[in-house]
């Protein structure tokens, strides 16, 4: 392990003014444009990541959010040493990732929902054996870790079936097991639940939480499923067009962008009058079922008024869906403001 100063002990990942540019080839529609482009190609430079500063503490779980093309995966690839930054500095566990020091690579794992480590025509257990050799695990380490991961992920029944014959959910769980055999200190998860059904998404989330509780790796997660982020990460970093637009607690982001809560109420009979001047707005009504948007500080007052009618069949109070909140971050209006 290279010299680790105090800052590095405190933070597992530190980036300073991180930039990554790509040279993209332009091509207009049609055969003539293709021919022109063949002999005189035109390019433009795209800033995938722009002056990104971030610090992630050891053992933290951070959600990395942004729309498609925001620069999330590019950042993960720079942090895992796959891409060399155009400028800026990266420090991961005291290493410079793109120098691809083997000691650094032993401490990280990159799981990509759309790419796989498992050999397609072989049972997962064969890939396990290869990874055991790659990370130089002893017999005892290998036996203990495989047993633990197999139990946690409930994959004992699919280890000896060819990968191509496994369901997507089984494959993803085996993929996670392979990626965690060497107990990485840093886990980069890029869309780990993509394409999975809700039940399997929940299983994966619950496994990740359990794994984090036991081994405390630093986890950086990107996902388009906001439930993943809400379940796993307290802190989120939001980037848009390569720029960091938010870094903080998920609850702060919710309060900042959506200062209201949703109150759903079902009345036995009668009406409920919602007054905007009291910080309450009716957003939907279906018979006796009302959906109200209520300012956070007025929620207790409105709820008390509803209970006082003695006429309530059901009442729930919830935050607006995270998808809506994040979506709001990327609307033209928000971007301009």
């Amino acid at each position: 392990m290279p010299n680790m100063n105090e800052r590095q002990q405190e933070y597992a990942i530190v980036t300073r003014a991180l930039n990554r540019e790509f040279r993209v080839r332009l091509k207009a529609e049609g055969l003539a444009a293709s021919l022109r482009n063949f002999f005189a190609p035109q390019h433009k430079t795209v800033n995938a990541v722009n002056d990104l500063d971030m610090q992630i503490g050891a053992g933290e779980i951070v959600g990395f959010l942004g729309p498609n093309g925001a620069g999330k995966t590019t950042t993960l690839k720079m942090l895992s040493g796959l891409l060399v930054p155009t400028s800026g500095s990266i420090d991961v566990l005291g290493y410079t990732p793109f120098s691809r020091d083997h000691a650094f690579l032993r401490h990280i794992s990159l799981v990509m929902g759309q790419k796989q480590n498992l050999w397609w025509d072989l049972p997962p257990v064969e890939t396990f054996a290869i990874h055991r050799r790659i990370y130089g695990l002893t017999d005892q380490q290998y036996a203990e870790r495989t047993k633990e991961l197999i139990d946690m992920l409930e994959i004992s029944d699919c280890l000896e079936t060819q990968t191509r014959k496994l369901s997507l959910g089984q494959r993803m769980r085996c993929e996670l097991a392979v990626s965690l055999l060497h107990q990485p200190k840093i886990l980069f998860l890029d869309e780990p639940t993509i394409g999975l059904d809700i039940l399997m998404q929940k299983k994966i989330r619950s496994f990740l939480l359990d794994y984090h509780r036991r081994f405390k790796p630093t986890i950086l997660l990107t996902s388009h499923y906001m439930d993943d982020v809400a379940a796993l990460a307290q802190r989120v970093i939001v980037i848009d067009r390569g720029n960091k637009v938010f870094d903080g607690y998920l609850s702060d982001l919710t309060h900042k962008l959506h200062p209201e809560k949703i109150v759903s109420v079902v009345l036995n009979n009668g009406n409920f009058i919602c007054n905007p001047e009291e910080g309450c707005r009716l957003i939907h009504q279906d018979g006796q079922h009302y959906r109200l948007l209520v300012e956070r500080n007025r929620v207790p007052e409105i709820a008390a008024r509803l209970y006082a009618t003695g006429n309530i069949a059901d009442l729930t109070i919830e935050d607006p869906p995270l998808e809506d909140i994040i979506g709001q971050l990327f609307t033209a209006e928000t971007r301009n403001s």
């Binding site: 790509f22 999330k72 995966t73 590019t74 993960l76 690839k77 895992s80 040493g81 796959l82 891409l83 060399v84 793109f98 691809r100 083997h102 000691a103 690579l105 032993r106 990280i108 794992s109 990159l110 990509m112 759309q114 790419k115 796989q116 480590n117 050999w119 025509d121 072989l122 064969e126 890939t127 054996a129 290869i130 050799r133 790659i134 990370y135 130089g136 060819q162 890029d190």
Partner: protein
């Protein structure tokens, strides 16, 4: 003679430096253990499709026989071609098939897989592993389909030795060994050049076609070509060192200076390719994201 001694000296220095680099800085024994494990997995995978596996071995055996017949047809019309008689040509064919089969077993499946790995982005996962990426990408898969060709080529060369076409001579056999190592290293370097191109250009279809074109040139002795082309094949486009020089060494027709010249070229080419691979990976842009 002085030239040969200098070539041996420089080659030995380069080789020592390279071996030291592999053993001490690249943990070569661990990398080899990983490769053996990957090979086991490839063999198990090949066995999954038994019929295809057996058919490929039979097809390659017949390919060898048809290649042999092609040579014999030439000599129904002429006694010798550019100083190479029919028996000598059989030695060349045996040596060529050995090199070709070894390339097919060790490198070809990796060349085919490389294009897919770059296009699909699966190269990303391999590059985040603590392994020597060049070595693992070069040798992670093997194809046993050409094992039959190695056997048949060895039998052919053994028969030619028995018939006295190849004379048993330690010096010649030593030069043959050195020139075979050079030949395999040079083929490997062409392979590395192609995979580097695939990484840098993000897509390079039909890479194997290029390597096969090179082999098509190696099938015949370079003596059949005009002087200028022959010079090119002995220098910057080392076609002569793939099959002609090893076959000549086995027949006692090659001088040691030429053999060591080829070896020095091969060592320099390997060092250059190792540097080029590091540059290519530095320039890798990865698919998507």
């Amino acid at each position: 003679m002085q030239y040969a001694v200098t070539a041996i000296y420089i080659s030995s220095l380069c080789l020592c430096a390279f071996v030291r680099y592999l053993v001490f800085e690249h943990d070569i024994m661990r990398q080899m253990a990983i490769i053996v494990n990957l090979w086991k997995a490839t063999v198990i995978q090949a066995m999954e499709y038994r019929a295809s596996f057996v058919f490929a071995i039979v097809a390659n055996f017949f390919d060898f026989i048809f290649g042999l017949l092609q040579y014999l047809v030439f000599f129904t019309a002429a006694k010798s071609i550019a100083g190479w008689e029919a028996d000598h040509m059989l030695v060349l064919y045996g040596v060529f098939m050995l090199v070709f089969a070894l390339h097919f077993i060790l490198l070809y499946p990796n060349l085919v897989a490389m294009g897919d790995m770059v296009n699909s982005g699966n190269l990303d996962l391999l590059l985040t592993k603590p392994v020597d990426s060049q070595l693992i990408i070069s040798f992670r898969r093997i194809s046993l389909e050409e094992l039959g060709s190695i056997g048949t080529a060895t039998i052919l060369l053994g028969w030619l030795l028995y018939r006295g076409v190849i004379v048993f001579d330690i010096g010649n056999f030593l030069l043959f060994g050195v020139s075979m190592v050079s030949s395999l290293l040079l083929v490997y370097c062409v392979f590395v050049l192609l995979i580097c191109l695939a990484v840098i250009m993000e897509r390079l279809d039909n890479m194997s076609q290029l390597l096969w074109s090179l082999f098509a040139l190696c099938r015949y002795p370079v003596d059949i070509y005009p002087d200028r082309i022959r010079y090119a094949f002995m220098s910057f486009l080392p076609v002569a060192f793939i099959a002609t020089i090893p076959a000549s060494a086995l027949l006692g027709r090659s001088d040691s200076a030429t053999v060591w010249h080829g070896f020095a070229m091969a060592v320099v080419a390997v060092l250059f390719c190792s540097w080029l691979w590091r540059r290519a990976i530095g320039a890798y842009t990865s698919a998507g994201g």
